[in-house]
Symmetry: C2
Subunit: 93 residues, 2 copies
DNA sequence: AGGTCTCATCAACCTGTGCTGATATCAAGC
DNA sequence: GCTTGATATCAGCACAGGTTGATGAGACCT
């Protein structure tokens, strides 16, 4: 899941979608990317639950699912908390 | 930065380091990976500030830097918050 | 129905990067 | 000082996955 945010183009897509739902053509224009590429990444994001589809006539809108992002953030904070708790630990060789 | 956690091996390394500092040989053993590969990834993590070095004799220990993880988590929660605030927005075509 | 527009899917290509083997560097012990 | 063991660096390979072009499936309009 976090793996998807690694790609710079996908990261920009979720950044744009954080300000509201957009259709594919918006993303194509804003990102200056080819349409098949945008659709491809949107599919990946959708299958991972980062984004949800909203077909509107011949346009299809995509909307960010905040819960998925929150879940990822929680995993990171939990990791940080474990690291802080074990700050003094050092396994000997 | 989040980009680094995308690789499964690096993710496992961070997971292991969350339980306390480890030296390279520990990671090589636990991950069942070749030593140059582990050193390579540790370097990437270190240059991104995810991990810090602690040379101890001929061993070098690596320790997780929780603040870096927390910073990444905060960026994700901020993104989720923006998405929630703009839940009703939909730019027209 | 025909035409046009948006979007999705497919096949093929190509770049980035994870991985390996060989080698160098440094510390510890004899 | 020499050997041994741990770690870092380098060059090269291989493959995943990002990118592109062509094509197809629906939706809207006249």
């Amino acid at each position: 899941m976090i793996r998807l945010l690694a790609d710079p183009l996908r990261a920009r897509m979720v950044e744009l979608l954080a300000d509201g739902a957009l259709c594919t053509c918006h993303l194509v224009a804003e990102l200056d990317a080819k349409q098949p590429l945008v659709s491809h990444h949107l599919r990946a994001l959708r299958e991972a639950g980062v984004v949800e589809r909203e077909p509107h006539g011949r346009f299809t809108y995509y909307r960010l699912r905040p819960d998925t992002l929150t879940a990822a953030a929680d995993r990171l904070t939990a990791l940080a908390a474990r690291a802080r708790a074990n700050a003094g630990v050092r396994r000997e060789c």
